[in-house]
Symmetry: C2
Subunit: 418 residues, 2 copies
Amino acid sequence: MRISTLSIGEELICGQLTDTNAGTIASRLLQEGVRVQRHLAVGDNEPDIIGALADLGRVSDAIIVTGGLGPTADDLTSRAAARATGRRLVINEEARSHVRLMSSKLENLILCPLSDKQAMIPTKSALISNPTGTACGFHLMHNGCFMFFMPGVPAEMTVMLHDTVIPFILERVVRKRAIRTASLNLFGPCEAEVDELLLGIAQPEKGLTLGICVTFPWMKVTLRAEADSGDAANDLVAPAARTVQERLNEYCFSSGDISMDEAVAELFRERCLTLSLAESCTGGLIAKRITDIPGSSQYFCEGVVTYSNNAKQRLLGVPEEVLNNCGAVSSECASAMAKGVRTVSGSDMGLSVTGIAGPEGGSDEKPVGTVFISLAAPDGCWTKRFQFSGNRDEIRTLTAWTALDWLRRYLLKRGQAV
Amino acid sequence: MRISTLSIGEELICGQLTDTNAGTIASRLLQEGVRVQRHLAVGDNEPDIIGALADLGRVSDAIIVTGGLGPTADDLTSRAAARATGRRLVINEEARSHVRLMSSKLENLILCPLSDKQAMIPTKSALISNPTGTACGFHLMHNGCFMFFMPGVPAEMTVMLHDTVIPFILERVVRKRAIRTASLNLFGPCEAEVDELLLGIAQPEKGLTLGICVTFPWMKVTLRAEADSGDAANDLVAPAARTVQERLNEYCFSSGDISMDEAVAELFRERCLTLSLAESCTGGLIAKRITDIPGSSQYFCEGVVTYSNNAKQRLLGVPEEVLNNCGAVSSECASAMAKGVRTVSGSDMGLSVTGIAGPEGGSDEKPVGTVFISLAAPDGCWTKRFQFSGNRDEIRTLTAWTALDWLRRYLLKRGQAV
């Protein structure tokens, strides 16, 4: 089945908003072994929408459309869908009841107005129910192509995709080939190194392919096996995944959709250790990432963002001599910060970072990107100097990733707590 | 001129990576008054790339292609471009020298390998130089359509777009109509309210249109005027922008591309006041956003992330009775935290947040989403209770936005420091 997505919205086409719906649809379908072939986006412009539906209709068996079903005048998708498929646009009573019910129920920061416009649906369409928002979706068949229309709000779209669109598509897909995938997430190596380490693993002639996707500052290696049956695809992908894991073990922080933050959180929970943070150049970014994870209060005690020297002395007990003789960006200061936050908080571990994120503040000796990270733990205190390159945001991101990866490696080595 | 973008990459089509290049290209071109009509994305698959170039070629005068020019085997764009346009793929000596030079110069976390593959360019193409990476781009003309090919790395693409592609396009665009835009960024109102407040401003018949783009949790109102000359477009957009500003003044935190964080930073610089933060449920997110801005050390003294009650007492001097009688998520605790961090840090202002971000920890009296924000300043201390809805991430994001917006409003009211 050839599937395309079509994202509609002036904000997408103008670059004001990045479309995430096409990616969500593609990745959910790929989990079911169905690959999306094209993502197209057009603005809130009726001829463009009609043209896009016609063009995609010629090369697709199904089009999954998102956006343009809202209550305001610039939402044109229903009308364009009706014109593109030679249907009339009529009030759908079921959709009208839904819009009214949801409008009265929803109580959030951003409320949608009550509007019959959202109940106008092309004739000979079936509704796609939207349990979380006002706009119903609909689907229809035109010239042998299934067309699904959903609102562009990601949270609403995701539920409708899962509840209605994907089951509908899977029922109709004649899957000649089964697809299985496995992926590993890496931090640290360069792409060329990974490429070399993975030589000989892909066997495209047998249906086993391998892709490397670099997303600053980490990368994902994905194995994809296509075979006549699910078992055969599994037999192809599983041993290859083990080989990849062995060769890249040093860099691999997780598999599948598990983020670095979640991997670190999981280790903290397992090891029953607690952590406090003293951040300078990352300004709270590491604490933010640690506390992104629900339940982090189990292992995260406190964080301090000590931008000023005064705060470093007062909150962490960094000696004045260290600040005067070595400076705030120094190995000595980083280690005093890590030990300090560990002591004052009473945590098992203290982690500190101090550095120059730029764009100002660099010197010949300590250029922008110079970062010291220090880890104080029950069995010692270690400090490392790093030289990162990039802009302020990249340097802060690299620093946070490196610190989290260091925590991960330390916790792995510590083994299970008794 | 009808312009399309084409983004190439298996990771894009699989939903592993969100394409930002198409948006960057569209927004840069729109600044020059040129609208992109379609964004298409396909995977690393030669027939799909060839098909996309052919389809877009039929409806476009220019196609701006990104991605698939890397050194690895799955980078197929050059070969597909050659096939799609009936050209041969040959080593380009200038590109080869560039690849070698850049490979020897680049020294970063992720290094690209030396490879002649990146010097293979279709015949009868002109190079697009890439000052920051190894892969040269190229452009060619096929059946009356300009095709530009650039690497997918956003930082490299952006420079090449700016230096070569946009000037090339602008030279050839016969702009019959001038376009001017103005935009305002809002936090707080619902879309329906904004819609109502903006009634009567758009005059599509005169070429003045208005769009509202909601990006959780803020929104952007963009006015766009199209006229025979730049002056005429300005005359259309400028008074409308003033009216929009007047009607939405209460909610408007900035115009154009200025973020909430930058708007707040600018006010801190102007007012010469300093800030310290005490965060509980946001876990460092507000400090992270404040310190995202270069030079924030001028006004940001310190932040503490006090997850535990112990930390709230020890670092901020929150009285034990408050924690015992009112709880850590209470108006009393928030105000003690704000006053505490202001006192211990010696800052002009102290801001605190404490709340329940979920998914666990809610009660009937204080459900998930209950957040207290407190602001301690030279002229008083104010505390407010909020009830946010959404998941953990949304509640934390809304809390940080609300806190930053409160700082902004306070600083605006304070007027200029003496």
